[in-house]
Each structure stands twice: as structure tokens, then as C-alpha cells.
Symmetry: D5
């Protein structure tokens, strides 16, 4: 059994039960909806408590429940350049603004990176009369390159 | 003459004059520092006024000044998967969280994308006793797929 | 169950029932034949009403019918450069005329893109004594780059 | 000397003379603005007459003028998947709608392709209160697969 | 069911019945052996009559027989650069002589291409005392680029 | 100095002297026009005699003349999948008919390949009221796999 | 059924019967152990006699036995650059010494190649007090480029 | 200055002086012709003595002479899959026989590799009435995987 | 049956039995935990004794037990550039420090490599008040390039 | 001016002055030889003091000296899979042991990564009668995934 099998089963049960990610995240609790969704999409591990609720919600057996608690081999996309338009737009931002981010973060913080591990993120709807906007707030710890 | 040549010249003059992007953005004005940096890195066009100030700051000739106002062939990275660690972390976020973003944005907004064109972004330092954080706030208009 | 499985089942039933896309689109209704074909090829979601008709036409079960209403992970080609000659010719147009489109759209509209989301398309047979022609009319909203 | 050198020189002269493609196409004449732009971008040959006018407009020498009349090695993009957002959107259309085009063209015309050679194209601004639209009309001869 | 499944079944039956392509092509008739082989390898559609004979020869059911009449997603190789030595040699010819073909065809015919659609091909054994030769005769309609 | 430099110089002189490949091949002689064109495109070595005539025709110095006689690093295309439409069509033939060629050559000759080295080729114009055709005749020695 | 299935079955039986390639090659006979191993790994066809012995050794059914006699689609590696260290070292030799081989073979033999078809190879253990050595002797017919 | 520049200069001088690799190797001495050719092609370092003779032969200045003694960044091919037919044949051998080599070397020696570092190689002409053969003898130390 | 199947079964049993790699390595013994983990992940062979214990621990049948003793086709990652963040960081070290390692190892040892075969490695937790550290100690035999 | 130009100049001066990295690192001081080498190879920034010494050692002008203090676009290899054998061996370690490292680090530390930023490394010669060994000690801070 592989993590993808659990993801596929979860998505099937979610579909048939007409559950939303918001409802699922609320029932499982203990973390942001982003994290819980990522876990069920096979990119993050769950705690034992979270996995237990998920098991009940989705009718998972013991191994599936344990798999949800394992750290997965991360990387959720089938190709290096994503083909799905919604996801591609984020890749495009990296491609277009990547060097700009590098210049500005390094000017402000010095030599180092924004962590993608000590990292959190929120997604909100920003009402706008010209059309609502997707607002994403990311915050990652700055990690300075160690001089040795 | 190509846009890259202007970028290289700008970076050289900036270096020798010990200018920061913050100072440059303030002098040029009319847009956020992110946008002005992106323009000087060769990813965005400048307005005629902005280009005129840039020309003075960096000693650009007429063609270089005009090139700054042209819309560039965008894409700032030499490889499809970026090798620079700071930029790679953003690519990693797309790779790991891409399918999660897709699920959550579509659940909230329906079928469509977050625009990377009608889009704005800010970068801030978020003081934190455990180490300051890089905070990035993105906002892109949600564009629903047209049914036809 | 995955979206590809529904596509494969739909194609199988269409084949055995000798249905054409034109007939299918007419029966399902509510959108252009292009959109309905794209949905059944796994690239667009259907409305609940459309999916209900499709379910009847193709003998789909509940999960298959729900899957047709989900937004798919888009990208219908097995390789980055398509191998099928009919589809390759479109890729060739992008490869050969891409920079020309960029020049002309930007000269007319300014900095921005033609949306592939707020987009519609028609395909027609254009009778011609020297051999009929395929006529494709595309129309996408121009989206100006937001200055921020 | 290579065709790219002529393209670069033409773009430089066009920039300094503040010429638009529309003006250039009008002065050169004898073909649609799309074709003339494509030729000057290095993707199509010019006739001797067209090249002569171009030579005058852009101050080209004999070899440059001859090069404009040669059939170029076509392909205007630096990468297989284009990074420029405007051009990428067209690639995305191929990726998402490619199999749909295949189904519909073949249902209507039989086994064959839409020619990218016996092909013409127009681009227009379509006024729209919700935001003007880019309208592209393509027409390519249908070429049936020869049975042998 | 997919076209590959039919190809695999055909190859299996051909193997067990010790049939040659020459025998199969003769029995099916109505086209050259090249075309019939290509069709059974999943690259060309068959006519209803041809498919009916094939169905009998290979014991195909209704859906398999219909699939043989559908236009396949073409492209018969698992990698962009073929690994099989016999097929690679043809790729090598394209790689080595490609620019020569371009020069000579365009000098003789003007701007355009040799069609791979309005195309036919024969393969013959050319007896030679120093070792027999494979003779391939290709003929494709020249398609001039349309000036528009 | 590299072979590409000689190719570029030859093409430049050919252009300015309004020479055709046919004229060049006739003057140089000693081989088919295909071979001479390939040599001047940098894919084949010339004999000393041929190179001497070429040197006179194109005004080559001693090193350039010697370089024409060296065996080049072959491969004339800038990308693994060619972008030029004329050349791509040949690649497409390999992609679509590759497995068919394999089946038919092996059925006729046994296990082995058609040599791309002990190989010759001709190109002719085939008059046709529906549009002239490009006729290519290839002949390569069959090389049986050695059993050892 | 595919050739890979036969390879997998052969490897499974070989494993359970504790057979070595040396023993298998001896029992099958009629060719070198290299060739027989290559055939059972799916890269070479067997003769009918060899396949019959193999069928007995590995308990193969009729179709499997026939498949062993078919010429396979060659290419035994899952990636263009092999990841297995033993195999990679050979790729490395090509990468590092490739241009040297080209220079030396062409200096000695003229323009042409070492055939990989009319080719044979042996592998031996070369005792050495500093550690035994793998000795590989290859011999391929030199094929001169045909001048035409 | 880069190693490629020295290689290019050496090749130019060799060409003009009509030197062969055999002559060069004899004059430089101290190693096999394969090694000396590889060094001058930029893949191996020379000793100080060898470099001194090379400097005299090719008229190299001090830095060029030192560069010949530096260990180069190895890898002599412009693409992962080589396009030159002579070199490709070796790649093909790896692709076709790679898994066979792995099976046979490991059966004879156990778990480990044939070193490409503690490695030597000879190339000879093997006279043969049916056409002379290229004989390559490789010998690499077997390196067993260390158990730890 | 393939090695991946054994890996998948081992991971499943390990999961359900709540075993850690430390416990498994201790029970199997005879090698470092790194080596035993690598073997069970399908990258190293086990000895017969080790495989016997593993068979008991994980309930493996005869063929699975034998497969654990076979030398696998190595390479544990699904893509050339790893997508998993933990593994990517090591790839990043190679990308950033690769040329530095080359300079320093060669300055100290001369021309050669650090063996990845005669190689061993340890991993330890290095307590640190600012956050514990992962300490990796690698030791590979230096292999000098053989001069021949 | 680009960072590569400085690297090339430094390497040229180092070569002509017969300097070793050890000597250079000692003279520049303030960091480990690994870091100083990496900086001069274009992968790390220098402090102003270090750059001043480097400027004197290598005769750098003002802009070159400033460039040494800038944070470079990191990534020192020309291809995603390195071709140089010394560097490739490290890539091989990632490819073979990557999943093992993942298992063991996560078992010991939980979900997270070993930082490649808060990271240090040493390289030593480990005398060994069977051949000296390269010893590399790496230590990177463990960064736990933030739960949010």
C-alpha cells in the first residue's frame, strides 16, 4: 500500500459524502485547514489524533491510518513544470519574480533563505468590487547562511 | 542590444554606487519597490518617467532607456528547476503545496485561477524572537473559467 | 477512482453506441460543443445538470457522475511537446508565431496577456474549392498587468 | 552573420525610431501585419520588394537585406515550454484543449490535420464593456491523411 | 479499453498464429502493407471493411473492432530520442541531414514543407552483391507556406 | 576556429554571390549535391580536391580549407526535437512510422538495421497535377546483428 | 503479453532454481554467454532451438517461447543517464572518452563508425595482485561512410 | 582562459601543422596515445614534462601550459545522449547491453563495479577479410562494495 | 516479482508491527543500520543470514527472501532532481559545493575521485543548545586516476 | 561584469602564481578553507575584509572586489546530472542513499530536514594502509516542519 492509495481513497469518500475541506478540517482540528488538506493530499503527516478522526470520517483501516501519520515522499506534481493552470500561475510567479525576491530578501536580511520548512501560510478571500481576490500570506523564518 | 545588457549595466552601476534597491525604488517612485526591482531585473516595463530617472541614476543612453520601457520576454531563471537555494524554496512550495492550493482555492471560489497578472505582492520583515521571518503577502484576482 | 477512468469509460460507451460529439453535446446542452467535449475528455467540470444527462447517456454510477463535476487537474497531453500530428501543428504555431503574437497583442493592448481562462473558442468548417478549411475563432479577455 | 543579428538590429532601429509594427507593416505592405511582423522577428522570409523597403527603413546592408529573404530555421522560443506569460497562455491552450481539438476536427473532417503551413491568421481587438478582448481567427486548410 | 490493448492483442494473436505482416496485409487488403501494419501497430485508422477482416483474423470483439477504426493519438515511441537501434538510425538521419534536406527542398520548391500527411512510402529489398540494401521511397506533397 | 565558423562564412559568401546549392555542387563535383550540401552545412568531410574548389569559391583561408576536410562532430539540430517545420515533419515520420519500419524491415531481412553510414539518398521533384511532390529515395545497407 | 513479462518470469525462475547465467548459457548453448544473457534480459532474439531449451528450463508456455524469438524493442535502461553505479561507469566512459575515441578511430580508419551491430564482446576476469580486473574486449566492424 | 580555449588552440595548430595524434603521442611520450589524446581534448591532465613538450609543439604560452596540467571538469559531450554517430554507437552499447554487463560482472565478481578511474584501454585495428574491425580492450579494477 | 514489491511489503509489515529501523537493524545485525536500511529500501543486497532474519521479521516467502540477496538496480529516486525537501537539500549541496569539493579533494590527493563504492557513512545526532544537528560522516577511499 | 568573470580571473591568477587553495585560505582567513574556496568559485559571498585581501592577491579592481561580496546566484554545475566523475560520485550517493537518509533522519528527529544553510562541512585526509580515504564531515541543523 502506498500513500497515493490513501489519498485516492480519501478523495473518493469525500466526494461521495459531499464533504468540503473546510468541514473536514474543522472535524479533524488541531491544525490549519491548509495543513490538514496538505496531509490528506499526501504531503504532510498527521498526528495520531488527527489520523484517528480521519480514519473514522473516511472509513480507513489500520494501515491506511498509520500511513497518514508517516512522513511522505513529498512533491505533489506529476511534471517539473506543472500543467494545471491554477498551479502553473504559482510556478510563473517563481519564474518571473524569483530573481526579484532574491534581491529584496537578501538586501533586507543578508545572505540566507526564507525557510520552506519553518513556514506557515494562510489563504483568504479578499472581497473586491472589481472581482474578489485570492490573498495568500506566507511567513517563513529567515535562515542565515552559517559562516564556518 | 538586449534587455539583459541593460540589466547587467544597471547592476554594475548600482554596485559601484553602493545603492540599495530601497534607495533606488524611492528615487524612481511611482510603484512599489517590488515592481521597480522586477523592472530593473528585466521582468517588467517601466513608465517613461520611471525610465528617465533610472537613466539618470545609472547613466543609460537613449536605447537603454527605451528598452527599460519595453515589455520584456519574461522568465528570469536559467533552468526550469531553479538551482539557487533562496529561489528553489519557492519552487518547492509550489511542488509540495500546489495541489493543496488548487483544492482550497477552488473550494472557496469555484473553477478558475488566481491571476498572476492582476496580481500584487508585498514583502516585509516580521520580527520574531526566535528569528525574524520573511512575510510575503500576495493578492491576485480570482478569474473564473468562462463557460461558453 | 480517477478522472481518467471516467474519460475512458465515456469513450468506450460513446464508441459502442456510435455517438458523435455533436449528438452528445446536443443532448447534454447548456454549453458549446467544445466545452462539453473538453469536459468529457477530462479537462473541464460539468454542471450537475449536465453530469446527470451524461450519467444517463453513458451509464455512469454516482461517483463517476460526481467526478465529472469536479475540477480536474488539467493538461491533456502525455508529453511536453505533443507527438500527435494534429495537436503538434498547434504547438508549432505557438513555437513559430509566439513572439509575433506577443509583439502585436502588446502593441495593441499594452502590457498584459490574452486570458486562457476568460476565454472562448469556436471551430467551424470553412468551405473552400481548394479544400475546406478549419476555422478557429478564439476570444480571450485582455488582462493588463496590474501596476502596484 | 545570422538571422538573429538582423532581428536584433531591426528591433534596435524600430525602438530608436519609435516605429510601431502597424506603421512598419503599412510601409512595407504586400502582406498582413502578422506576416510582416513574423518576418522581421525572424520566422518568415520577405519578398525582395519587402526586404528592399525594410532595408531602407532600418538601414540594412546588402547581406542583411538578403538574409531577410532567406527562409529561416523556424522556432522563435528559447525553451520547449515558453516562460513568457503571454506566450505561455497559448501553450496552455494546446495542453488543455489539444485532445478536444483533435476529437472535434476529426469528427467533422475525418483523419487529417489543420495545416500550419497553408494557414492564415488575424488578430483583432474586440470591444467589450467588461474589458476588451483579443480575438484571433485562424484558418488552416484541412489536410486528409493520404491512404496508400 | 485503449488502443494499446488492441495492439497488444493483435501482436499476441499474430505471434501464436505464425502470421507475417505480408500475409496479414494481403488478407486485409485495400491499402499498402505499410499502412496496414501501421494501423495494427496503433498509428492509423482502418476502414470498416479492413477492421472486419482484422476482427476475424485476430478474434476481436466489437469494441476492439471499433477502436481499430478510430483515429489514434499518434506517436509510437516511448522516448523522444528512440533507443531501439533500427529506429534510432532514422532519427540519426534527421539529426545529421535535417538541415541539408531543408536547404535542398527549399531551393527546389521555395518556402514550404514536405507533407507528412499527404504522404506515401514504400519499402523494398534492393539486391546487392555486397549485401542487400533496404530501399525506402517516400513521396510527400510539397506544401508552400501561404502568404497572407 | 570551429566548423560552425566555416559553415557561417560559407553561407554568407553563398548569399552575397547569389549561388545556389545546385551551382555549388556542380562546380565542386565528385559527389552528389546532397553530400556536398551536407559537407558545407558542417556534417560531412570534403576531399582535398573538393575543399580546394570550395576554398576558391568562398574565399577560405588555409585553416578553413583544412577544417572542411575534417570529420565533424555530427548532429545539425539545436534541439532533440527539431522546431523547424520542414525538419520536424521528418521527425514526425520517425515518431509515427518508427515501429512500423521496424516490423517490416525485420520481417523482410531478419534481425538487424538499415545502415545510416553505408547509406545514400536522392531528392527529386515529382510533378503532380494536384501539386508537385518531394520524392526522397533512401538506400541503406542492411546490417544483420552478428551472433557471437 | 510483453517481452518484459517474459524477462520477469525468467528472472524469477532463475532465482528460485538457483541457476547462474553461466549454467544457463551452457545448457542453452549455440552462442556466447553474453548473447544468451542479453536475450534473456530482453535485448536479443533467440533461435528456435535456444528458445526451446529456455522454455524447458524456465517452464515457459508457447507464447512466451515465441516472444523469446522475436526481435525486441531494444534499450534496457529506464533513464537516458543510467542511475545504477555499475552501468553508469560505462556511460561515464562514453562521456569522458567519447571525443577521444572519435579522434583515434577516425585517424586510423577514416570517416566512419565502429558498428554496434556487427559487433562482438567478451568479458573476462583478469587476475591482479592489487585486485582482480574486469577485462572487456569489444570488436566491431569498421563501417566507412559511403560517399555518394 | 578556459580549458576549451586550449583544446581549440591545440586542434588549430595540429590542423595547420598536419600532425596526427600518433605523431603527437610519440613526441610527447610518457603515456599511451589514448591518454595523451584525451588530455589534449581536455579530459585528462598532463604531467609537467608532457605539457612542456606540448607547449613547444603547439606554441602555448605559460597559462595554457599550466592549464594542460590542471585536472579538467570532465565530460566531453555537448548533450546527454550524444548526436555524433561514432560516439552514439558506444552509448547504444550501454543502452542495450548495460543490464547484461551488470548481470555478468556481478555474477563473476560479486557486488561492485568496474572502475572507470583505475582503468585503462587500448584501441587496435583488427584486420579482417570481410572488413577490418575496431578492437577495444578495456580493463578496469573491480571495486567491491564495502560492507559497513 | 520485483525488488520494489519486496520493499513495499517490508514497509507495510514494519508499519503494522510498529518497528523502527533501529530495532530492525539490531535484530538483523551484521552491518550498520545505514546499510541495513538501504538494503530494505532496495538499494543494497543482504547476506543470506541477514535475509533469513528479515524473512522471519517480515513474513517473506522464498522468492522475496532471495530477492533481498540480489544486487538491485540502484537508484532510489523517481526524478533526476529529487522533489522531497529532505533529499533535495543533499542534491543542493552537490549543486552548490560540487566544484569546491573537486578543487579541494584534487589539491589534497591529486587526480582521482572519492569512491562511492569503497565507502562508508554514519549518521548521528549532535546535541546543540540552538537546535540539535544532523551529523553525517562519510569516508570514501581515494581512487587515483590510473595513468596508462 | 558577472560573477563568473571574477571566478575565471581568480583561477587564472591562482594558476600563474602557483597558489594553492590552502595558501589562499590561510592568507585570506576568517573562515574555513571550504568556505573561502566556495566563495572564490562563485558560490558564497566574502566579507569586505576577505575581499580586500583577495583583491590584493589576485589584482582585482573595485567592481570585481565588490562582486566577491555579493550573494551569488548559486548552483555551480553546468548540468542537472553532473558529468565530472568526482562530482558525480556525490550525486550518486544522493541517488542511491537518498531514501535511506530520509528514513533514518526522520526516525531520529521527526518530520523535517537537515539544513543546507545552517550547515558546515570539513574535509580531511584519513590515512589508511589500504589507500588513504577522503573523510567528509557534515553537520546541518535539524529543522522541524512547523505545524500551523
Amino acid at each position: 500500500m502506498k500513500r497515493e492509495d490513501v489519498t485516492e481513497k480519501v478523495l473518493s469518500k469525500k466526494r461521495l459524502a459531499r464533504l468540503t475541506w473546510a468541514e473536514i478540517a474543522e472535524r479533524i482540528g488541531g491544525a490549519s485547514p491548509v495543513l490538514i488538506t496538505a496531509a490528506l493530499m499526501g504531503q504532510m503527516p498527521m498526528t495520531a489524533e488527527q489520523a484517528a478522526v480521519a480514519a473514522e470520517l473516511f472509513g480507513l483501516d489500520e494501515e491506511e491510518t498509520l500511513l497518514l501519520q508517516e512522513i511522505p515522499y513529498r512533491g505533489s506534481l506529476p511534471t517539473a513544470v506543472p500543467t494545471d493552470p491554477l498551479i502553473y500561475r504559482f510556478y510563473e510567479l517563481v519564474s518571473v519574480y524569483g530573481t526579484t525576491w532574491k534581491e529584496l530578501i537578501q538586501e533586507e536580511f543578508g545572505d540566507g533563505i526564507m525557510s520552506a520548512i519553518d513556514f506557515e501560510m494562510e489563504m483568504d478571500r479578499q472581497p473586491d468590487p472589481k472581482g474578489d481576490r485570492v490573498k495568500i500570506t506566507m511567513s517563513g523564518k529567515f535562515l542565515p547562511y552559517k559562516r564556518f
